[in-house]
């Protein structure tokens, strides 16, 4: 049962991810990304990381992607061919860059140590529950957490300043 669900959601997420690249209409690409995010969050649930799964949907699928879809709908799809197709030379540059990214991904995967996931353990102490995420965030990782919030606050203020510059 668990294996079947895993296969279904894994296939959906990979297929949707491929569809992001293959679609020519930006709106369909954005919706495929939403599909990927939802399938991934289902996988998180299977790893007993309900909190992360829910946050993934609330933040990414529910807020950020709605904003993307809003912008795409507002600006409407451009009629002419995208920039990349006007400059054929750029296409060949894509191959070494893709190779570089894949090599980097493999390097990172090799670095990560395989950890024992308490997947069958139903207690509130499992890695991805609200309790464990909250405890870690406000004890062990308090400084990175606060630094990140300050960074985001700065980004918000910066965005406000940039958006308001035209008004004066």
């Amino acid at each position: 049962m668990e294996k079947a669900l895993f296969i279904i959601f894994a296939v959906v997420s990979v297929a949707a991810a491929l569809n992001i690249l293959l679609q020519r209409n930006p709106l369909y690409s954005a919706l495929s990304l939403v599909g990927t995010l939802i399938a991934l969050s289902a996988l998180y649930v299977m790893l007993r990381a309900q909190f992360i799964a829910a946050i993934q949907i609330v933040v990414y699928a529910g807020a950020i992607m709605v904003l993307f879809v809003f912008v795409i709908m507002l600006l409407n799809a451009p009629k002419e061919a995208p920039y990349i197709e006007k400059h054929k030379a750029l296409r060949f540059l894509a191959i070494p860059f893709a190779g570089l990214l894949i090599a980097e991904a493999f390097y990172v995967i090799r670095l990560v140590k395989p950890i024992q996931m308490p997947a069958s353990d139903d207690s509130a102490q499992a890695v991805g529950t609200t309790l464990s995420v909250g405890t870690k965030l406000f004890t062990d990782y308090l400084l990175p957490f606060e630094v990140t919030s300050v960074l985001i606050l700065m980004a918000i203020v910066g965005a406000m300043v940039l958006a308001r510059r035209g008004e004066d």
């Binding site: 829910a54 946050i55 609330v58 529910g62 807020a63 709605v66 709908m73 507002l74």
Partner: protein, 337 residues
């Protein structure tokens, strides 16, 4: 395992049946109350008191022609109504309808399931349901529909923030994201220790207004503002696809009522639930009914916001109030403990 699966299946079937009946009759209720408020009778011809009106409406709509505009984006046009309806139905699996009752010698908890992040799950589904409206507006290839879809997405993003922050007070109060735990934490004072009385009247006010906006109800029904946008995002829809939009909207309405009840008005708590567990179901239903009535009452009493007023209200009034509520609740909690 099979036992559990069977129990879930039966519960989901019962809830789905009850919910769809409630949706059909809340349409009738809305029309009758509209008649009452506007000093006329409303639909009362089909059956006693018009009680068969939903069946007659359903029959009529099934036989309508199902039109897909020739320039529409067909796939999105067809799936958009389901994208609105399914998330709003999914909310109901975590809402506790009552305490535990004993049936056929088994203890049965009156909710389909409950998990660690029930409240986040509700918020997530609420935020995902906007895709149905936005995509319906885009796929119809109609300028009024598109305007409706755009308004819906901007409105949802703005009010989601206030909605999410307004429940933080409840979380501080109950210390859990699990809806069952949240209801149980409101059990003191002979079943009257409801969050709205204890410390969250401001939180409830913000939540209630934001929930109205999330459910696209007047005075926040800009996505379908009849007087400016024909019918907004569902202008081009007919027959059963139109019905699915209507069902989705009323499902959202009942979900908003159910979640408000659960978070702020004690859920199924009330005097006497400890001795008579079946009473809890009655309390929950009554509270949800009152909420649905208030939603309808507001619809036929208040005029619609202008769009810029709506945005200003969300960002400059509701959001600061929600943050203020968090500060007050946290301070009080800290001082008391």
């Amino acid at each position: 395992m099979t036992d559990l699966l069977l129990e879930w299946t039966i519960k989901i079937a019962v809830i789905l049946g009850a919910l769809l009946t409630a949706v059909a009759y809340s349409v009738l209720l809305e029309r009758r109350i509209m008649g009452f408020i506007q000093l006329r009778r409303g639909p009362n011809r089909v059956g006693p008191f018009g009680l068969l009106q939903p069946a007659a409406d359903g029959l009529k709509l099934i036989f309508k022609e199902d039109i897909i505009p020739s320039q529409a984006s067909k796939l999105l046009y067809v799936i958009a109504p389901t994208l609105l309806l399914i998330p709003s139905l999914m909310i109901f699996i975590v809402i506790p309808f009552g305490s535990e009752i004993v049936l056929f010698g088994r203890k049965i908890a009156l909710q389909v399931t409950h998990f660690d992040v029930g409240l986040l799950y509700v918020l997530a589904l609420g935020s995902v349901s906007v895709y149905g409206i936005a995509l319906a507006g885009w796929a119809s290839n109609n300028k009024y529909s598109l305007m409706g879809g755009l308004r819906a997405s901007a409105q949802m993003i703005s009010y989601e923030l206030a909605l999410g922050l307004s429940v933080v007070g409840v979380l501080i109060q109950s210390g859990s994201l699990d809806l069952v735990e949240i209801v149980r934490s409101q059990g003191g004072w002979n079943g009257m220790h409801w969050n709205v009385f204890v410390s969250q009247p401001l939180g409830f006010l913000v939540f209630f207004i934001a929930a109205l906006a999330e459910a696209n109800r007047t005075p926040f029904d800009l996505p379908e503002a009849d007087s400016e946008l024909v019918a907004g995002y569902h202008t081009e829809y007919s027959s059963m696809k139109f019905v699915m939009f209507q069902m989705g909207e009323y499902c959202n309405l009942i979900a908003a009522a159910g979640v408000s009840t659960t978070l702020f008005w004690g859920g199924w708590m009330g005097p006497g639930v400890e001795t008579y567990p079946a009473l809890s179901l009655a309390y929950f239903t009554a509270k949800v009914f009152v909420f649905v009535f208030v939603f309808i009452w507001i619809r036929f009493t208040l005029p619609r916001f202008r769009y810029d007023q709506l945005m200003r209200f969300g960002w400059r009034v509701l959001l600061p109030l929600a943050i203020l509520n968090i500060i007050i609740t946290a301070t009080v909690k800290l001082l008391v403990s």
